[in-house]
């Protein structure tokens, strides 16, 4: 089984971290993973994306033509990556930011008002974790407990106070898609 993802959004929306946690969680389940970021001169504000592959086999190419999953956190991401999504692939839309619909009808679209859900929990910054919750619930690419322990690893001791909030966000994302 192989899952490939492109996660994309504005710099600052936490798409890089989302991808890293996904990859880290995959690794903790003894899977082969790669995480590759777009990188450029813009540190903030531009659209950033990363490609994640999670596989039972060794990962050959860390870049993919047609991902199984596209996560669009803003409109430019939707425009850029919807056409590349694999047939029957999953398109996750952050409808808090994206006020338009997907154009293809051969894909599965999951709408998540990630900012609003995050805001309800009390911190807009965890919109990425809300989305991550939705992703794992729908695709079942990694287990929730793996994500939680990946999150723990990523946040480290310094960020341990943020762990609870992030877990809450992930759970809200799961709940939103009925997981």
């Amino acid at each position: 089984m192989t899952f490939s993802f492109i996660l994309s959004g504005f710099g600052g929306q936490g798409v890089m971290l989302m991808g890293q946690i996904l990859a880290q969680a995959g690794m903790q389940e003894a899977k082969n993973v790669t995480w590759f970021p777009s990188y450029g001169p813009e540190m903030r504000g531009g659209t950033a994306n990363c490609t994640v592959v999670i596989s039972d086999e060794p990962v050959a190419s860390p870049i993919v033509d047609s991902p199984d999953v596209v996560v669009a956190m803003n409109i430019p991401s939707l425009l850029k990556f919807e056409p590349r999504l694999k047939k029957n692939g999953f398109l996750f839309l952050n409808t808090s930011v994206i006020d338009r619909k997907a154009t293809r009808n051969d894909i599965r679209v999951i709408e998540v008002p990630a900012n609003e859900i995050a805001d309800r929990i009390g911190n807009l910054k965890v919109a990425n974790m809300v989305m991550l919750g939705a992703i794992i619930a729908v695709t079942k690419c990694v287990r929730k407990d793996s994500v939680v322990s990946a999150l723990q690893y990523k946040l480290g001791e310094k960020g341990s106070s943020l762990l609870k909030l992030n877990i809450e966000a992930i759970e809200a994302g799961i709940k939103h898609v009925g997981g």
Binding site: F36, Y39, P62, I63
Partner: protein
């Protein structure tokens, strides 16, 4: 052993520390800054020296200094910075000093861009600086292999007293992958030639200089003898599904692993495709490629350049089989799909 997720650049840094490197001199340039920053953070923790030089020109000469007193030393840069280091590398090669370089190649020529490229192959493998010298050139394709090859680079550099280069690219440098890094005790002894002070022995001179042409030719012959030995003993490569292959892809580094996906796609489509991935770009594994060339109907060389390694493929396989090329330049990374498409066109054309 525990696996941890690391960026290629950081994994190279940690591997260097494991290999006993305690001296790093570097200058910021994208896309390798994470390595320089990693060393800035880590080296003081292990009692080593990190110094940000005033330029790549200074950095390479600091490496010369540290290497000449017998210490393992390393620097890291990206294409334009590596150009600036060429003079110093030529001196280091001629003075027969071990040192390890990392070039995280980006799009060129000129200022170019900061995206992944393989456009520095000629510079790395055919010289780059002045004079008759060679670099040991290692091209990892995964983060784990970057770790192995960094340790190997220090070993080979010491073994041959010759500079060694990790030729990576922005993709390998920036990507994260699980790695296992084994803690080990590394010891090395350069006391037989290093400048340590003329105590209880006659003074030693380590130079790249001999005003007498016959003397200098002798030094050159020594270098050449070393290179012949390397060519005998050190070529390394990987073959992937070549046993029954009728078509061979030849690619190194990041493109090497991208081509593994192409092999899989092609085999699903019923084509017997294999991959030849050189790991040492100098010394180049000509012989195994020549053997494979005799068995396949076509070799497709794929690079993120206009066709630089292609020349070495031709040296090994010219007139033995059909040789084709597919390349992207300037920081554009070819995807498995587009390579496969090109391959199919070539197959149909024959």
């Amino acid at each position: 052993m525990k696996k941890i997720m690391m960026k290629g650049t950081e994994a190279i840094g940690e591997a260097a520390i494991i290999a006993g490197c305690r001296n790093f001199f570097g200058y910021p340039i994208t896309p390798q800054n994470e390595l320089t920053e990693y060393m800035a953070r880590r080296l003081p923790e292990v009692g080593g020296c990190f110094l940000q030089a005033e330029s790549e020109v200074a950095a390479v000469n600091m490496i010369y200094g540290a290497a000449s007193v017998g210490k393992r030393a390393m620097t890291s840069t990206s294409s334009p910075g590596f150009s600036l280091m060429q003079e110093g590398i030529s001196y280091i090669a001629c003075a027969q000093l071990p040192a390890v370089f990392v070039n995280v190649v980006r799009g060129g020529p000129g200022l170019g861009d900061i995206q992944p490229s393989q456009g520095d192959y000629f510079q790395a493998t055919k010289g780059g600086g002045h004079g008759d010298y060679r670099l040991i050139v290692l091209a990892p394709s995964t983060v784990q292999e970057a770790v192995t090859l960094t340790e190997l680079a220090f070993e080979l550099a010491d073994k041959y007293r010759n500079p060694a280069l990790i030729l990576a690219d922005g993709l390998l440098g920036q990507m994260m992958e699980p790695v296992e890094i084994e803690e080990k005790q590394v010891s090395y002894d350069n006391s037989s030639w290093a400048l340590t002070g003329a105590k209880d022995r006659p003074p030693r001179k380590v130079t790249s200089f001999n005003i007498d042409p016959y003397g200098l030719e002798k030094m050159n012959l020594q270098l050449q003898e070393k290179y012949r030995k390397m060519e005998q003993e050190e070529p390394r490569w990987e073959e992937f599904q070549t046993e029954d292959a009728e078509i061979l892809l030849a690619a190194y580094g990041t493109v090497g692993r991208i081509c593994k996906s192409v092999v899989k796609i092609a085999r699903e489509a019923g084509l017997k495709v294999g991959l030849f991935r050189p790991i040492t770009l100098y010394p180049y594994p000509y012989s195994p490629l020549e053997e494979l060339a005799k068995r396949v109907s076509m070799i497709l060389t794929v690079e993120m350049s206009s066709g630089q390694m292609l020349e070495d493929v031709k040296l090994a396989a010219l007139r033995l089989t059909r040789i084709e090329f597919y390349g992207r330049m300037a920081g554009v990374v070819p995807t498995p799909g587009e390579i496969f498409e090109h391959l199919m066109q070539l197959v149909r054309r024959r």
